[in-house]
């Protein structure tokens, strides 16, 4: 009997194994849903409530679902109308009055007006709100960055003047406030949804944007349907699917086979594969990033500005950017050229070994010195090849001017711990992706010393301290006129270049690929998929 079972089992097992082929021949090919745009991304979103997440993938999806009070203009980091049609700023730079758009509803039918917007913002600023975001567990939020906090007395005050007028009063003038409001992390969620899902609508997002949330299957895909009533115009496709495909080779094949129409990121090794295929299109734009090698401005030989400048002369940035970064823009100052306030008259330090040696000699290091460098291995948005490869390239150049560098590589978590919380001496791979498209978000966050508190700001990890520079940054926040601010930041960038707190390396490009039949697609410096209502399929 048992023999019989085994004998019979084998053909049955074989039959089961070939079921897929049989099923396919039954007519697998079937009509696809018309006008579906598939965007392949590398990782899953971790939640879709704008105030409670900070990762790119969540932002990609949310930028199709939500509007903010103001939105970035298409393809730009400049601020334009969003849920507010217009706004005014008081001459002292403290009072922002927004005139809210009429006739807009959230995807769940809740009317959008000054009151409902205020209800959503209230959980960012009001500690007695039951859904106060800063008191929630595990939450990664920009609320304190944008609105300040009640705890340290920096929080913005909000008033609803009437159904369509909303006013914010800041305790101090803070010019970047308006650009911070445009961030996807300040997208406005229907207060009804927040209430319905007990303060956490992260898996049931309801916005006012061009696409409505349909479903999210963990680690697989997120489906969104067009919102035909979108105030910015009816979307040109019926559906967007964000497909999660972790392996870049698989993503590329999906694009080539038209299983996906847009790739959110393309590794430099695949650029030529896209440009060489007439069915595909490569989009490249300067990114809102900066990459450099930070030096310990307060320790070791690096206390001397001549040594820091020498390091900048000693490294051939152009060669590194061409060879390792697929043609990234060489950096000369503290922020990328895509931002206003960039000082075009400041050129990158040229590759000049003789000049480097001369400066080192003047500083008393004619025979060079030995020091250390900390690096990480993994790629970052502002550093697609990872820190170790950049570190090795820089090490090679510095050896030529007599500076011997010992590299220590850390795993990313350990790197952050070491880089941010210890007084390291030597070099550290450093970089930044912009949050809100304001110059202060680069120059202030990365290089400013908090003169009131008496220590460097959180991300000034090179411990750069220049009183004249810090004054310009403070002024930049107090003035609201953009032209005047731009002038201040240009001066600050010149000072920063001369003070050389980092070896300024590059600004990476933002690169995406699409099928050639995708129309109306524009890269935004903030990297998000803004204005997807304009994207169609021919």
């Amino acid at each position: 009997m048992r023999h019989l079972i085994i004998r019979r089992l084998l053909p049955l097992m074989l039959a089961v194994a070939i079921v897929p082929v049989g099923l396919y021949s039954m007519g697998y090919a079937q009509a696809q849903t018309p006008k579906t745009l598939v965007i392949a991304i590398g990782a899953d979103q971790t939640g879709l409530d704008p105030q409670t997440v900070e990762n790119n993938e969540s932002g990609f999806v949310m930028s199709t679902i939500f509007d903010s009070i103001v939105n970035y203009k298409p393809g730009s980091s400049d601020v334009g109308p969003g849920l507010a049609e217009s706004w005014t700023i008081s001459p002292d730079g403290k009072v922002y009055t927004f005139h809210i758009r009429h006739g807009v509803t959230f995807h769940d039918g809740t009317p959008m007006n000054a009151r409902t917007v205020a209800q959503d913002v209230d959980r960012a600023i009001n500690p007695s709100n039951p859904c106060y975001v800063l008191a929630r567990k595990d939450v990664d939020t920009y609320d304190d960055f944008t609105f300040g906090t009640a705890k340290d007395g920096t929080v913005a005050k909000m008033d609803v003047l009437d159904d369509y007028t909303l006013r914010f009063t800041l305790p101090q003038p803070n010019a970047p406030f308006i650009t911070s409001l445009a961030m996807i992390w300040q997208g406005i969620m229907s207060p009804a949804a927040t209430k319905q899902y007990n303060c956490d609508a992260g898996q049931h997002p309801v916005g006012t944007g061009p696409f409505k949330f349909v479903e999210a299957v963990r680690n697989d895909h997120i489906t969104l349907d067009a919102n035909p009533a979108y105030w910015g115009g009816k979307p040109k496709v019926d559906r967007i699917i964000f497909q999660i495909v972790p392996e870049s080779a698989t993503r590329m094949l999906q694009l080539e086979r038209n299983q996906a129409q847009i790739l959110a990121d393309v590794p430099p090794s695949d650029y030529s594969r896209v440009t060489g295929n007439k069915d595909l299109k490569l989009y490249t734009a300067p990114g809102l990033t900066i990459l450099g090698v930070a030096m310990s401005n307060d320790l070791g030989p690096f206390k001397d500005v001549r040594v820091r400048q020498a390091m900048n002369y000693a490294v051939d940035k152009d060669a590194i950017n061409k060879g390792l970064y697929g043609g990234a823009t060489t950096a000369s100052q503290g922020m990328p050229p895509v931002l206003w306030g960039y000082n075009k008259s400041v050129e990158p330090y040229p590759y000049d070994v003789a000049k480097a040696k001369q400066l080192l000699t003047e500083a008393g290091f004619a025979s060079g010195f030995s020091t250390e460098m900390i690096v990480y291995a993994n790629p970052r948005g502002y550093n697609p090849i990872g820190g170790a490869k950049l570190g090795e390239a820089v090490q090679g150049y510095l050896a030529k001017v007599g500076v011997n560098v010992k590299i220590t590589q850390y795993e990313w978590g350990a790197y952050l711990d070491h880089y941010r919380h210890t007084p390291w001496e030597g070099f550290a791979i450093s970089g930044w992706s912009g949050d809100n498209g304001d110059p202060d978000n680069f120059l202030g966050d990365l290089f400013e010393w908090d003169d009131v508190a008496g220590h460097q700001r959180t991300n000034d990890n090179s411990r750069h301290h220049d009183v004249a520079y810090d004054k310009l940054l403070v002024q930049g926040r107090q003035v609201t006129d953009q032209a005047k601010r731009a002038d201040l930041y240009m001066q600050a960038n010149k000072l920063l270049h001369d003070d050389a707190p980092w070896i300024f390396i590059n600004h990476t490009n933002q690169v995406r690929a699409t099928r050639a039949n995708v129309t109306g697609f524009q890269l935004n410096p903030l990297q998000m998929f803004f204005h997807m209502e304009q994207v169609g399929l021919q």
Binding site: L10, A17, D138
Partner: protein, 334 residues
């Protein structure tokens, strides 16, 4: 027999306890905590302190473990740090995908491995035998990540015969019963889903099952060769039993015993191979969940995934032990 099974289940408890301690200590030893990784290169020292406090990371490690254990015995691994969903929900979404993939890969490995092994044993030292064994050697030698990319490039990209990654065709939704699209599609009579799921499974199954198939083929060839040379087989042949029956009825069953042991061990290989296979083919399974959770130091999910994988492995080996008794009447458990 029942007593034996009960005893084995009781033995599961110390095994899982040991695994949980090892994983807990192991993941806490890796530098960088979840709060630090959540903030990345942004955020202030106050943000970091707030997050650490909210996540309970400022507590001593033994308190953190005790808290975890108290929840785990009730089937509650806690809340995922990364997604704020319950860890058991996250695992529940991923587990069926991995079960479907591993079961299909195991089936593929056993069916083709046995077929090749038996065939080669029946024609020893023939050209076909040598060819099959060379093929098998190649199969064992190829790492999963390489096989996967190769198959994807050839059958997905170059020839375009098979879909590239994912569970189903894009935009296809299905009624979740077991969470395995192929099974659900068949049970609910949704043939479009079943078809799509099966078609999407072909490449991952071959990728994941290839090395196991090759191992099973080698093992079944050598044991089959040995059994075919035994006296009782000669007797069967002398009695005039036809060769096909000698192989299938008399020899195969005795040759299966070591193969069954091997199959049990292969399950561990399949579970670890699933990590890479699921990444290459974009399948939302347990392996992918493990990777993303480890990278984010999502302690509750990592603990849950490892404990469940360990339990599956132990239970599969119990099943193998029970199968021995079925295949070999001399083995009895008490």
């Amino acid at each position: 027999m029942l007593k034996y099974i009960a005893r084995r289940f009781v033995q599961l408890v110390p095994v899982l306890l040991g695994v949980s301690i090892l994983v807990f200590v192991g993941i806490h030893l890796i530098p960088g905590d979840p709060a630090e990784l959540m903030l990345g290169d942004k955020g202030t020292a106050e943000d970091l302190a707030r997050l650490r406090h909210q996540l309970g990371l400022d507590q001593p490690i033994y308190i953190q473990y005790a808290r975890f254990l108290a929840g785990a015995v009730q089937g509650d691994f806690g809340i995922s740090i990364r997604t704020r969903q319950s860890a058991i929900w996250e695992i529940g979404q991923a587990l069926p995908v991995t079960i479907q993939l591993s079961a299909a890969a195991l089936l593929f490995a056993v069916v083709f491995g046995l077929a090749i092994g038996v065939f080669a044993a029946r024609h020893p030292r023939s050209l076909a035998d040598t060819g099959a064994m060379i093929g098998v050697l190649v199969g064992i030698s190829m790492p999963v990540f390489w096989t996967g990319i190769l198959l994807l490039l050839v059958f997905g990209g170059l020839l375009g015969w098979l879909p590239i990654g994912s569970l189903l065709d894009q935009g296809m939704a299905w009624h979740h019963v077991t969470g395995m699209p192929l099974v659900d599609g068949v049970f609910t009579g949704n043939w479009a889903v079943a078809r799509s799921a099966a078609w999407h499974l072909v490449l991952p199954v071959v990728t994941l099952g290839l090395a196991s198939m090759a191992t099973i083929a080698r093992m079944s060839r050598s044991t089959m060769l040995e059994v075919l040379g035994l006296d009782y087989v000669r007797t069967a042949r002398a009695k005039g039993v036809v060769e096909r029956r000698v192989v299938s009825r008399h020899a195969l069953r005795n040759a299966l015993l070591p193969v069954v042991t091997l199959v049990g061990l292969q399950l561990g290989l399949l579970l670890s191979g699933a990590v890479l296979t699921e990444t290459i083919f974009a399948l939302p399974g347990l392996g992918r969940l493990a990777i993303t959770s480890i990278l984010a130091r999502d302690y509750p999910v990592v603990e849950g995934v490892v404990l469940i994988a360990a339990a599956i492995f132990v239970l599969a080996n119990l099943l193998v032990d029970l199968l021995y008794a079925y295949l070999d009447p001399r083995i009895r458990y008490a």
